[in-house]
């Protein structure tokens, strides 16, 4: 799939129409208008909500403004999950636009990580990339890259530049022709439960008999119960490549 531009583009340009409203208890000077935005599925909330922040800060007193955080129907939204994942996990059955409540107070320390600057997001993103490459190529590809390549990857994501991102990410998605796949498939299966937010396991792309594994095999192997009515699968990689809803 990684050499399929049509699919990659569709994944990359996936957007979720979102309506941001300020939490009712926030103290404002004027009435806060809701703010509408198309969020890129593959990006992170705190990376793409500068406009939202500015919009609501205008109606608030400066001293009331603390770290921004988001919540959907009572669930604090983890910024370090890709937006598409958050939506599929918590709100896939909701009517669009997705209604997110914006908070500036009472940061839910036990649920969310702090995100004081974009550097934090970048660090998290790069950590994911590196983790994925460790599984895919024993980190060989990511380690051979130059700093500027890492930067280009990140800037591509940040600026929503498909080509810029994929010019580098392509290398992370390749494997030598003599191998028939990655060493392990980097994946996480996220669940909407709090006790075990995601499942992660080593999984080879090729069965011992030489057959290629399919996603179905993976699910069978990883969560044989598969009774969860809805399992949201998201490749953690860079990628974010796919976060299709998987009806088990």
């Amino acid at each position: 799939m990684t050499d399929d531009k049509d699919v990659l583009r569709d994944v990359w340009f996936g957007r979720i129409p979102t309506c941001f409203t300020l939490y009712q208890d926030e103290i404002t000077e004027r009435e806060a208008e809701p703010y509408y935005l198309l969020l890129p599925r593959i990006s992170y909330l705190t990376l793409v909500t500068d406009k939202v922040k500015k919009h609501f800060q205008k109606v608030m007193r400066q001293e009331e403004v603390n770290e921004i955080w988001f919540e959907y129907e009572g669930t604090p939204l983890k910024w370090h999950y890709p937006i598409g994942l958050l939506f599929d996990l918590h709100a896939s059955n909701t009517a669009l636009p997705w209604s997110i409540t914006v908070h500036f107070k009472n940061f839910p320390e036990k649920d969310l990580l702090h995100c004081h600057s974009k550097d934090v997001i970048e660090a998290h993103f790069m950590a994911c990339i590196k983790e994925a490459d460790a599984l895919k190529h024993k980190s060989q590809v990511i380690n051979e890259m130059q700093k500027k390549d890492h930067k280009q990857l990140w800037m591509g994501l940040q600026n929503d530049k498909f080509e810029q991102f994929w010019a580098i990410n392509r290398k992370l998605m390749e494997y030598p022709p003599e191998d028939s796949g990655f060493r392990y498939i980097p994946f996480r299966i996220y669940q909407a439960t709090t006790e075990r937010p995601f499942i992660q396991k080593l999984f080879r792309p090729i069965a011992s008999g030489g057959q290629l594994h399919t996603l179905g095999d993976l699910l069978k192997d990883v969560c044989p119960s598969a009774i969860t009515p809805e399992v949201v699968l998201s490749m953690i990689e860079d990628v974010i490549t796919l976060s299709p809803v998987w009806h088990a």
């Binding site: 799939m1 050499d3 399929d4 699919v7 669009l96 929503d160 022709p177």
Partner: protein, 1148 residues
């Protein structure tokens, strides 16, 4: 017997029988080695053979199920008042011991074993069962009288009784050869047997294991073995089947097909074979495909027939089925074989004529019964390990075949589809005679001083010595040599065989269409490099020489790869990838589904919200880097430059880009820039061994002076290439696969380019200048490409394989960014890299690698300018990998001596293949084959098309050029009948040898080997062959006629204002319905172009209106306006006398 694996049977020339398992890698000697065999015919459960004593033997596999036969006889008794039931019967009664009917006297001791291959399992015993119910002790059953219904109960009126005695015999001769003995009347006994074929088990499955066993005796009579089945593996008697003539050989398919060959050279076909009559009823006759050479051998499958004619050519019979066992017509296949054998699933094996190697026909599927190519089975024999190589066996083998080899110098299995057997062929000795010297020479290659080692080695093979020079030359792809050698060895002059109809029903003349190879095209020569001199050859004594093969019991599962073909390591990945469990079709289906779901999601989530603000603002993106640039001013050289690509997003969401190149000129910072929407092509070039690419704009095309940039690594270059290509496409809003009207082109590197034609391209009187056309690269690697205007695009690779475009795009370096995943397949191509070993003579040491100080490198390229040693010479690019070692190429034009040397007075000069007094230098060419494997949108197609060029016109006129340079027209081609019915030979113009044909709507143009372009006059619907050839132009390398009859060519040389380019795309102007030959030439992109096809472009110019863009003004710098252009192109393409070739052209 579990049949997860099955066996291929073969007999070597010493009569030893071997089997090769479908899961094995070694030939195993048949367990029973008592006998030597001439022929074998195998099915799953057994094998029949004719041993050297001309007797028939059967070899039945041991299995879990014993072969038992129940003998039975009845003991009959009648009641009489005196003694009760007793042996005394009435005179009218049956015998006391009889068969079940009572008609046949059968005493216990009358039963004997039918042959020594049986043994009794036990003694006679009484069957105490009747109809499944136990009887009383003694097993008697009672009745009123004979014959009657017997019951197990004795009643008051039971007057007779009988009981059944049973004895089992067991077939014991399993896993050994059991001689078939006959109890027939000695008068009618067949004379010694000559051929045997078994099959027919699918006609009826009753009784279990029923087989049709057919044999031919030395007197040419056909015999049918009666009653062969599981419990009677030897059958019972031979029945004589009358034939219309003396039969030489016979072949019986698994179903109802039975063919035989007559000594006179015809084939006879058995009609009327069915369930009730497995022997069939009558014979029909089928003529040989060749009038001069009768059929020598035939083999049939379920619904296919293959034959070999006496000239060892291989033919495939079309249209064979149960209703028409004779089929319709012969098609010549590639290769020269001793015999072929069709096995299960119509799979085919053959024994090569010269090398006595067993070839497996790859790619035989229900939809492609003739398969794709011959692939040599390269398997060692188990016994080889223990055998010590003996020179006696070599000699005896050599002597055995002396005649064959001398008569057949064409050692290669060549052909468009078949040379793709590339590496497989290369890894085995292709010719017995060529093997020893080649091997010796190759092994001495590393040290140039040790050729002496080669000479004695070649002396040892005395009987074959006469062949050594000739065979390698003949096997070369150099067509001339090839043809000459064919002429010299073929007793029939090829001119008489030039053409004919291969359909026997329509014509009396028979085709001998020679096997196709390609003619040389300019810069890339010699393609059949794999045939000759591959290293790693086995010694002749290690290479099994086969006499017979039978695949009737060999089930080749198309999905599990065979391990019979020693695969070079470089190939394994691609082979592996093909064998993976997930099929391309599955992948395509998944891809479609995923894409559909994504589209639905996008629609669902975005449709009503497009007016929302984007979270991330679009901005300018710049990619910068350091590259080298081939600078503009003299002296031209590479200089380091900083390069920046700035991408803007316009208000309409479209992107445009500018490429800046910053350089220093006399310590002054300067830059040039290119708008990517003006770029007409970005092409990888090979310039001074750098990873470089050229960037053209219309302006630079006119100048023949592209921007050349080089990167330090190939990866870096590909990054730039794909980014720039993407940006160009984006700025021109081109995406997705090429359209049906696309113009396709292949560069001399094998890169494939397409251009989407605009309607203005053919607009008269002011067509769009073709230097403005935008070309984008499509992944893949081809030698030539052809298309029609319905989106069908075919290509031929460097290894002569045929590929069809699947409608995908991208692949190659364009992966990831701009390619479709759908329709991407692994494409492989094989290409040879050549280097030259140069030597100079000196009085002290003779020829040595010590040259004069002014001499070229002792290891160099063809020009002598570049040093090319074996160690430092790399494959064409890192995408290629070596698949052979270096070997001496004997096919160099000009000829070589036995060690591959060519002599000349001095460097550089013309070389000849023998040493004279005046020669002071010599050189020889080394070749090494390399393989490229990449995901591309081309799908391999097997074919045996024996032509070098073919073209389909708008009205389905099919014209072709055969290898001998003559043209053919195919009659009656229609959408319903795309194959047409027969070929019409069209004489070549003025004895020219043709090399290419192209058919437009009605126009037919051909190109001869001297670069002349000809137009076919006098074509009418009722006379589609036309009447005469009209000369149009010279200086043409390739041409293409479009569906509007527009004519495009690759001109050999075109003079630009700054330089001369070779291989230039040109457009014929002034082509009108009444002027189909056109008037003049317009020059487009050039320098290194090999091929162009405009066959997809049917976009009509807007009628009667001048294109909206102003007609192109003559370029001032060009110095030649339209007038000048018209002047100079009035006549055939003009070229300056200056032969200096612009170094800046896209040289490869």
């Amino acid at each position: 017997m579990a049949m997860s694996s099955s066996l291929l049977w073969a007999v070597d020339i010493f009569g030893r029988v071997y089997t090769l398992s479908t899961v094995g890698q070694y030939w195993e000697l048949c367990k029973d080695t008592q006998l030597e065999f001439k022929r074998v015919s195998a099915v799953k459960q057994c094998c029949w053979g004719i041993a050297c004593d001309h007797q028939v033997y059967t070899y039945v596999f041991s299995g879990d199920v014993p072969i038992r036969y129940q003998e039975e006889t009845y003991e009959n008794q009648r009641w009489n008042p005196v003694g009760g039931f007793c042996e005394k019967l009435m005179p009218s009664d049956r015998w006391q011991w009889s068969d079940v009917s009572g008609l046949k006297h059968q005493q216990l001791d009358s039963f004997t074993l039918p042959s020594p291959h049986w043994e009794w399992e036990s003694d006679w015993y009484v069957d105490e069962n009747i109809g499944g119910e136990p009887t009383e002790k003694g097993g008697w059953t009672y009745a009123i009288d004979f014959p009657s219904t017997y019951t197990k109960d004795k009643k008051w009126n039971s007057c007779v009784r009988r009981r059944r005695w049973i004895r089992y015999r067991r077939y014991k001769s399993r896993d050994v050869w059991a001689k078939i003995t006959s109890h027939d009347d000695p008068e009618r006994l067949p004379d010694p047997f000559n051929d045997i074929s078994i099959g027919g088990w699918e006609i009826t499955d009753e009784p279990l294991g029923r087989l049709s066993v057919w044999a031919v005796s030395l007197q040419g009579r056909v015999w049918y073995r009666e009653n062969v089945c599981h419990h009677n593996p030897e059958g019972s008697t031979w029945s004589l089947i009358s034939t219309p003539g003396e039969v030489a050989q016979i072949s019986c398919g698994s179903y109802d097909l039975l063919w035989a060959t007559l000594w006179e050279g015809q084939a006879i076909v058995r009609e009327g074979i069915d369930r009730n009559n497995p022997q069939g009823i009558s014979w029909s006759t089928v003529e040989s495909p060749s009038s001069d050479n009768g059929i020598m051998h035939v083999s049939v499958g379920v619904d296919v027939v293959w034959c070999i004619t006496k000239d060892r050519k291989v033919w495939f019979r079309r249209g064979v089925n149960s209703h028409n066992p004779c089929g319709t017509s012969w098609i010549e296949m590639v290769g020269e074989m001793m015999m072929v054998n069709v096995g299960l699933n119509n799979q085919v094996w053959g024994i090569g004529c010269d090398d006595r190697t067993i070839y497996f026909r790859q790619g035989v599927t229900p939809s492609e019964l003739s398969g794709k190519m011959w692939k040599a089975i390269v398997c060692g024999r188990e016994s080889d390990r223990s055998q010590t190589g003996s020179s006696t066996s070599l000699l005896s083998a050599g002597c055995f075949f002396t005649d064959d080899i001398q008569n057949q110098t064409n050692t290669v299995i060549q052909g468009d589809a078949d040379t793709s057997s590339d590496t497989e062929l290369s890894s085995i000795p292709t010719n017995l005679s060529s093997t020893p010297p080649m091997g010796a020479a190759a092994s001495s290659a590393s040290s140039t001083g040790s050729q002496a080692a080669g000479a004695p080695a070649s002396v040892t093979v005395d009987p074959l010595d006469s062949d050594q020079g000739e065979a390698p030359a003949a096997s070369a792809s150099d067509e001339k040599a090839h043809l000459e050698s064919r002429k010299s060895t073929n007793p029939t002059p090829s001119t008489e065989l030039q053409w004919t109809n291969i359909d026997l029903k329509e014509a009396h003349r028979h085709a001998v269409l020679s096997v196709s190879t390609f003619t040389e095209t300019s810069s890339l020569s010699s393609l059949g490099m794999f045939s000759v001199g591959a290293e790693e050859q086995y010694g002749a004594d290690e290479h099994p020489l086969w006499a017979w093969v039978s695949g009737g019991g060999c089930l080749v599962d198309l999905h599990s790869p065979l391990k019979w073909f020693a695969v070079p390591s470089g190939l394994s990945s691609s082979v592996q990838s093909l064998s993976l469990s997930i099929t391309p079709a599955q992948t395509a289906a998944w891809r479609k589904q995923i894409f559909q779901q994504l589209s639905e999601r996008t629609k669902r989530e975005l449709e009503n919200f497009r007016h929302y603000e984007q979270a991330v603002e679009q901005s300018v993106w710049v990619k910068t880097g350091m590259l080298q640039w081939w600078r503009n001013w003299k002296p031209h050289k590479w200089m380091d430059v900083r390069v920046a690509l700035e991408q803007f997003t316009g208000s309409d969401g479209m992107r445009d880009s500018i490429l800046f190149i910053y350089y220093m000129y006399h310590e002054e910072k300067k830059y040039i820039h290119v708008f990517l929407n003006e770029v007409t092509i970005i092409a990888e070039v090979l310039k001074e061994g750098k990873h470089s690419f050229a960037l053209y704009t219309p302006e630079r095309t006119k100048q023949r002076w592209p921007i050349c940039l080089a990167a330090t690594t190939e990866q870096e270059m590909h990054d730039w290439l794909s980014l720039l290509t993407m940006s160009c496409c984006e700025s021109r809003r081109i995406q997705g696969p090429p359209s049906h009207h696309a113009i396709w082109s292949v560069s001399c590197k094998g890169d494939i380019f397409v251009s989407e034609p605009s309607p203005e391209l053919e607009a008269e009187p002011h067509p769009m200048p073709c230097d403005q056309m935008f070309w984008r690269q499509v992944g893949g690697h081809l030698r030539l490409v052809e298309c029609n205007n319905r989106g069908i695009v075919w290509g031929i690779g460097y290894d002569h394989t045929v590929w069809v475009h699947t409608g995908g795009y991208g692949g190659g370096f364009i992966q990831g960014l701009a390619s479709s995943a759908d329709n991407i397949y692994t494409q492989s191509d094989v290409k040879c890299v050549y280097i030259y070993e140069n030597q100079r003579w000196n009085p002290v040491t003779g020829y040595s690698s010590r040259g004069l100080p002014t001499d070229r490198y002792m290891w160099s390229d063809a020009s002598g300018l570049q040093e090319c040693t074996k160690a430092n010479t790399k494959p064409p690019s890192p995408q290629w990998s070596w698949v052979s070692d270096w070997y001496i190429d004997f096919s160099t034009s000009g000829g070589t001596d036995r060690e591959g040397w060519q002599y000349a007075a001095d460097f550089p000069a013309s070389y000849h293949g023998h040493k004279t007094m005046k020669d002071f230098v010599r050189r020889r060419r080394w070749a090494r084959s390399s393989l490229i494997c990449q995901g591309t949108s081309w799908l391999h197609v097997g074919t045996d098309q024996p032509f070098v060029s073919i073209s389909v016109g708008a009205f389905f006129q099919v014209w072709a050029v055969a290898r001998d340079g003559s043209a053919f027209y195919r009659g009656s081609v229609s959408p319903k009948k795309p194959a047409g019915d027969c070929w019409y030979h069209i004489p070549s113009p003025q004895k020219q040898k043709l090399k290419q044909v192209s058919v437009g709507r009605t126009s037919v143009f051909v190109l001869d080997k001297n670069g002349n372009l000809w137009y076919r006059q006098g074509i009418t619907p009722s006379y589609p062959q036309g009447s005469a050839w009209d000369h149009v132009s010279n200086n043409i390398r390739k041409m293409s006629v479009g569906p509007l009859d527009q004519v495009w060519v690759i001109a050999d040389k075109v003079q630009g204002s700054h330089g001369l380019s070779c291989g230039t795309v040109c457009h014929r102007t002034g082509v009108q319905p009444m002027e189909p030959k056109g008037l003049a030439w317009d020059y487009g992109i050039g320098g290194g172009w090999e091929h162009v096809t405009v066959r997809g472009n049917a976009s009509q110019a807007p009628r009667g209106t001048v294109p909206s863009e102003s007609p192109p003004e003559p370029m001032e710098s060009e110095g030649s306006g339209r007038k000048g252009q018209a002047e100079r192109s009035r006549t055939p393409l003009m070229v300056s006398e200056r032969q200096e070739v612009d170094s800046n052209a896209v040289n490869c």
